[in-house]
């Protein structure tokens, strides 16, 4: 598939922002996912005695950024800035596994996509019902210390180990199915789908230019059409559309402006 200059520009900018997000928040993700002593990671940083964890200062900024970005651009955080999304995209680019890679999980795909809402419900319930430390607070000479990860694992109870294994399984599954974690399991992604319904900026389709060719969701990294809640606004469809019918734009327009169908 040849790439237009606009697509290449969007893809390059997105990849740079993703790497920036990975550099900035990767440490937070690493510690939270593998060493957080709380049942629901990333949520109780203010109560945690591990004062050297990046969550101690980063949590407020990340949550603030998520709220603002969710209101303005919906799930664009998932497609553009989330460190887990960046890892999933990188795993989806490992060339040797291309032959094994699936575009979706068969007919179960639609139902599996609903799984993330179950995970979100469990996360919210767990946070409010079980917001306590489940494991020992472990610190290392560096937040990237694998020794600290090992000690955390050895001090974890079964529920905490299951949490880590589910997360790692979601990551590894991303080798075979692009953005598997984001599609099926991510509770944050599930929460941000609300933003996709309300955001000021979204992906819009020009119904006059659209030829309804059905190219998407086949070429989409989350196997969705630009008109669904699972869209991460990566912008791939902007180039993928040969009729140039898809573009970023404001959801709410004045009546005098030319009509563009809002598809999110």
């Amino acid at each position: 598939m040849s790439q237009s200059p606009q697509r290449r520009r969007i893809a390059s900018v997105r990849q740079i922002i993703q790497l920036g997000g990975l550099a900035l928040m990767g440490e937070f993700l690493f510690v939270g996912a593998l060493r957080c002593p709380y049942g629901i990671p990333f949520m109780s940083c203010g109560s945690c005695p591990i004062r050297v964890c990046p969550g101690a200062w980063m949590q407020t900024w990340v949550i603030g950024f998520l709220v603002v970005s969710g209101l303005f651009v919906g799930r664009a955080f998932c497609g553009w800035a989330c460190p887990m999304g960046a890892i999933q995209d990188l795993l989806g680019r490992v060339p040797k596994l291309r032959a094994l890679r699936l575009s979706r999980f068969g007919r179960a795909d639609r139902w599996l996509k609903s799984l993330k809402y179950v995970v979100l419900a469990l996360t919210i319930a767990g946070f409010y019902l079980l917001n306590q430390r489940f494991a020992a607070p472990v610190r290392g000479h560096s937040n990237w210390s694998l020794d600290a990860v090992r000690v955390s694992w050895l001090t974890y109870d079964t529920a905490s180990r299951v949490r880590v294994l589910v997360l790692l399984a979601g990551v590894v599954f991303g080798l075979l199915l692009t953005r598997a974690w984001c599609r099926y399991l991510c509770p944050l992604g599930a929460l941000l789908t609300i933003g996709n319904k309300l955001s000021l900026v979204n992906l819009a389709r020009d119904p006059q230019a659209c030829k309804n060719c059905g190219k998407y969701p086949r070429d989409c990294r989350t196997y969705t059409t630009p008109g669904t809640a699972d869209c991460v606004l990566c912008g791939d469809c902007i180039e993928g559309c040969r009729s140039h019918a898809v573009s970023f734009g404001p959801r709410y327009r004045c009546r005098s402006e030319p009509r563009t169908e809002q598809i999110l």
């Binding site: 005695p49 680019r93 020992a136 472990v138 990237w144 694998l146 001090t155």
Partner: protein, 304 residues
């Protein structure tokens, strides 16, 4: 940026972080490594000490901290690779000694005594531990922290009931305006003046967040010495482990921490080093042992 460029860049970042942060960093630099595990309360002290030790010896210290009983249970099950253990005097040390996991007898290198903290200016006029039971004193405490199982402050104030006068523990709890699940959370109410007093470890009053923001009132040594349980939280021990991979370096580490080089670091982080000028005043506490073995079950819960 092509896919191959992106993968190379991401691979480079991943390798850099792994080599930079994990246990391979010493290997990558060709330096000897020393793996040190400690109790979580010793983190600030040992991070500072390790910077000096690495500069002096040219080694890389791979350091991890967690509740010492957890560390001891891991070492007892899988002892290989850990060179030095540092931590409060919990009963598990005896298990390690009996299981021949220690290369030499653990040494008490410092004390971390309990103190009363008050807002700057001490508006409630706290002069001693007996003032904590005064009805006009607002206290804040953390019943589930400061292992074993958050009971050390209770054991301390029960000792004060016996040594100083009755009703101090009950008064301290009755006067509490807040109770928290983390020892660090008692500081903000006191610093902000919402509470008049709390009891904490001296080392915690020298952290970046608390240094210079509090009045620190000592708890009498005879009260701490009279504790019937939980006294192991005060003396801090260090020992080289028998199955470590760098026995020479471990011995050197212990010698430095117990000896003269350790004095300045302990002073900086609120510990009473065994060679410091205050040692004579605190001498009964250096004799303290870990306390009854029945503490162990409750202390294993303290990390939760």
């Amino acid at each position: 940026m092509t896919r191959r460029d992106l993968l190379r860049l991401a691979g480079g970042i991943a390798l850099g972080t792994v080599f930079g942060g994990c246990g391979l960093r010493g290997l990558a630099k060709g330096r000897p490594m020393l793996r040190v595990w400690s109790c979580g309360g010793n983190y600030d002290l040992l991070m500072d000490f390790h910077r000096w030790f690495e500069a002096e010896t040219g080694c890389s210290v791979i350091y991890t901290s967690a509740p010492v009983e957890r560390m001891i249970s891991i070492i007892a099950a899988n002892p290989r690779g850990v060179d030095v253990l540092v931590g409060r005097s919990s009963p598990g040390w005896q298990d390690l000694a009996e299981g021949k996991r220690l290369a030499s007898k653990p040494q008490v290198f410092a004390l971390d005594p309990y103190v009363i903290i008050a807002p700057l200016g001490n508006p409630a006029g706290i002069n001693g531990i007996e003032d904590l039971k005064r009805p006009d004193v607002r206290t804040v405490y953390s019943p589930t922290s400061s292992g074993p199982s958050g009971k050390v402050v209770q054991y301390l104030l029960e000792a004060a009931d016996r040594v100083v006068g009755p009703g101090i523990w009950n008064g301290y709890v009755r006067n509490a305006i807040e109770a928290h699940d983390c020892g660090w959370k008692v500081f903000p109410p006191v610093i902000e003046g919402r509470a008049d007093a709390s009891i904490t470890r001296l080392s915690m009053t020298t952290a970046r967040e608390t240094r210079g923001k509090l009045e620190v009132i000592p708890v009498p040594v005879n009260v701490m010495a009279a504790m019937r349980e939980g006294q192991g939280a005060i003396p801090q021990r260090v020992a080289p482990l028998a199955d470590g991979s760098s026995p020479e370096l471990a011995r050197c580490y212990v010698k430095a921490l117990v000896g003269e080089p350790g004095v300045q670091f302990c002073a900086r982080h609120g510990y009473i080093h065994r060679l410091s000028a205050e040692t004579d005043a605190y001498s009964p506490l250096f004799q303290m042992e870990a306390g009854p073995r029945r503490q162990r079950a409750s202390s294993q819960e303290s990390g939760r």
